[in-house]
């Protein structure tokens, strides 16, 4: 009887704890630095002379023991409790921080399982609310897959018998999405992150040696091209390929389902993602495209919901690639009533000059800077010419994008929604937001705009952080009147 009680207590203890794999997460990164030489010594001694091994490494062994003990203690103190209405997690050192949230307030629940976690049957559970004071995920727990699924089903109320509407993304679309949304910058960030993490675990000299060897190999094949240009080109191309692969793995097998008032999104190969969103917590939808996508008449449908797509390098999409004709149908299926309204105040051909002014100025700045740089570094004229040529390409592209933006900018209101079309950097956005989710509005006027009677409208929407949608180059009088008639008395 007593034995049964003990087993019950042990089971109860583990039921409220995270997966034991989390102990590794709680250990310091330094652990590996200490562990590798110690293991190396004992292997060298062929496990024979334990005494001398212990005597020569006792400080390291003590530190490792302390690190593991602290990690186990942290694991023991971090636990969670659940009842029918709330979930409470005790986190931090000695479980001192207690976070309680009601299931009715949950905006997003996410269950993400990396390949490593899959080996141990663990996964990470993210629970988010719309609370503005906490921009990060409110509750993050590493749990056994079964328990995490149970909690996700419980919070998401998956037992509901309502009709399911599922939009499966085609493989071709996922490939196109990864192509369009890959950027060299994000790839470089991933690569830099990998290098940084690697340098924390292994010796930094190995990293430097590796980079030097790579540079040496490259220089054999590219003796005619300046070395700096080769490096820049490799960083850009390599970064882009890395970003493309990361996106492909993240959004492969993408599907989204609406059932009742919840949206279920599943995706990923390397890391399996399953997110559940409450539709009432969706602040706005954002139909995004680049100029190339506009030419091919395709776009991606993103949305803003606290906790969805917040983590590093994630895009909060519900339809990775959609034909412009299918957008309305997709949105109506997934978020009924959200695709409403037309823009009533628009810019057009007469406004092109206003849109391209800044990019033209930036483009003209390139030869000026080139001349200055060539004057200061006369030895590097060849490299400077190539760099200035490369630098002018984005500005030329920006001029083309902004010319197109003159035809895709506008704002409009109907009884329930506000629709905004605008171009931000190189991306085109069509944002649909419920009027009650607009928290603030502003009108900006620069000195040239003040002279010509034009302005930019800024619409602030509900969000965890400050979020502004800027519709530029609109006539001031009409913009003011449209805002005033819609209760935004600027």
């Amino acid at each position: 009887m007593r034995q049964h009680r003990l087993i019950r207590h042990i089971r109860e203890f583990f039921r409220h704890r995270q997966h034991p794999i989390k102990i590794i997460g709680y250990t310091s990164k330094v652990l590996w630095l200490l562990l590798i030489p110690i293991v190396k010594y004992i292997v060298a001694l062929r496990f024979d002379d334990f005494h001398s091994w212990f005597m020569s490494n006792w400080v390291d062994i003590l530190i490792i023991t302390a690190i593991i003990t602290i990690a186990i203690l942290r694991w023991v103190f971090v636990f969670f409790e659940m009842d029918t209405k709330t979930i409470t997690s005790h986190t931090g050192y000695f479980g001192l921080a207690r976070t309680t949230l009601a299931f009715s307030d949950v905006s997003t629940v996410g269950m993400h399982q990396s390949s490593l976690q899959r080996l141990f049957g663990a996964c990470t559970l993210y629970i988010d609310t719309t609370a503005a004071s906490l921009s990060n995920t409110e509750i993050t727990l590493v749990l056994p897959k079964k328990r995490a699924s149970h909690i996700l089903e419980f919070i998401a109320d998956e037992s509901t018998a309502e009709i399911k509407y599922t939009v499966d993304s085609k493989k071709r679309s996922q490939l196109a999405f990864s192509l369009f949304f890959s950027s060299s910058m994000s790839g470089v960030i991933i690569f830099a992150g990998l290098l940084f993490e690697a340098s924390r675990i292994v010796d930094r000299n190995i990293e430097i040696r590796l980079l030097n060897t790579a540079a040496g190999e490259i220089s054999k094949f590219t003796s005619n091209i300046p070395f700096i240009i080769v490096i820049v080109a490799l960083v850009i191309i390599g970064g882009w390929v890395l970003s493309f692969l990361a996106n492909l793995m993240r959004y492969w097998h993408f599907s989204v389902t609406r059932q009742g008032s919840k949206l279920y999104v599943k995706s990923g190969i390397w890391t399996l993602r399953h997110d559940v969103m409450a539709c009432r917590c969706i602040n706005y939808i954002d139909i995004t495209s680049s100029l190339l996508m506009k030419i091919f008449k395709i776009c991606t449908i993103n949305l803003n919901c606290a906790g969805y797509g917040d983590r590093r390098a994630e895009i909060p999409t519900i339809a990775p690639i959609s034909n412009e004709k299918e957008v309305e149908g997709t949105v109506e299926h997934l978020l009924p009533g959200m695709y409403g309204g037309q823009t009533t105040l628009r810019t057009g051909r007469k406004d092109i000059l206003r849109f391209v002014g800044i990019p033209v100025f930036l483009l003209l700045l390139v030869p000026v800077l080139r001349a200055v740089a060539a004057g200061i570094f006369p030895r590097w004229v060849g490299e400077i010419n190539v760099i200035s040529l490369i630098a002018s390409v984005p500005f030329v592209w920006l001029i083309i994008v902004k010319t197109a933006a003159a035809f895709h900018t506008g704002i409009g209101f109907n009884d329930t929604h506000c629709v905004m079309e605008y171009c931000r950097y190189y991306g085109f956005h069509r944002v649909v937001v419920e009027r009650e989710k607009i928290t603030s509005a502003a009108i900006f006027q620069s000195i040239p705009q003040k002279k010509t009677g034009y302005c930019s409208i800024a619409i602030y929407t509900m969000n965890e952080k400050v979020k502004v949608h800027m519709v530029k180059q609109l006539p001031l009088d009409t913009a003011m009147s449209i805002l005033r008639t819609n209760g935004l008395a600027v």
């Binding site: 928290t439 603030s440 502003a442 009108i443 800024a458 952080k465 400050v466 979020k467 805002l483 600027v490």
Partner: protein, 154 residues
């Protein structure tokens, strides 16, 4: 609806602060030019031009153009120097506000009010302490949904 303007005391404080700071920097540059490098004369010239621009254009323009108004339903803020901004915020969307009161702010007018809502923020700069107290007490009442009819009558 009540209208508020930045405190003239804040304008004087900024003038005094700018003059003292630029004088200090000029003296330091003077020493630098005499004992280290001639380039410090150019730095000093730059500081003088910058201080002159701040004192004659930026500060007067900012103080003459800034207006804040608070009513039962909205807060409106107009401010700016080179980029003019008119921002409107619904009282119903205000979640919290932060009043920043600096030491001796009764004499310097260096009081600030940051109004937070979900997804937006409004900053009211250089309020006098009386205005700041008045706005915060009004906002407090409005957030608590207490009746404050003095708004409409004022």
């Amino acid at each position: 609806m009540r209208m508020y303007k930045p405190s003239p005391l804040a304008m004087i404080s900024i003038y005094i602060f700018t003059v003292i700071l630029s004088l200090g920097l000029c003296i330091a540059c003077g020493f630098g030019a005499m004992f280290m490098s001639v380039i410090f004369w150019y730095v000093m010239l730059f500081i003088i031009v910058l201080a002159f621009l701040i004192l004659t254009i930026v500060v007067p323009l900012f103080f003459s153009q800034s207006r804040y108004s608070v009513s039962r339903n909205e807060v409106i803020c107009r401010k700016g120097v080179f980029i003019f901004k008119r921002q409107y915020m619904k009282i119903s969307s205000v979640r919290s506000f932060t009043a920043v009161v600096t030491p001796l702010s009764g004499a310097t007018g260096l009081n600030f009010l940051v109004i937070h809502s979900l997804g937006a923020r409004m900053v009211l700069l250089f309020l006098s302490r009386k205005d700041l107290n008045e706005i915060t007490s009004r906002l407090d009442k409005l957030i608590r949904k207490e009746d404050d009819s003095s708004y409409e009558t004022a």
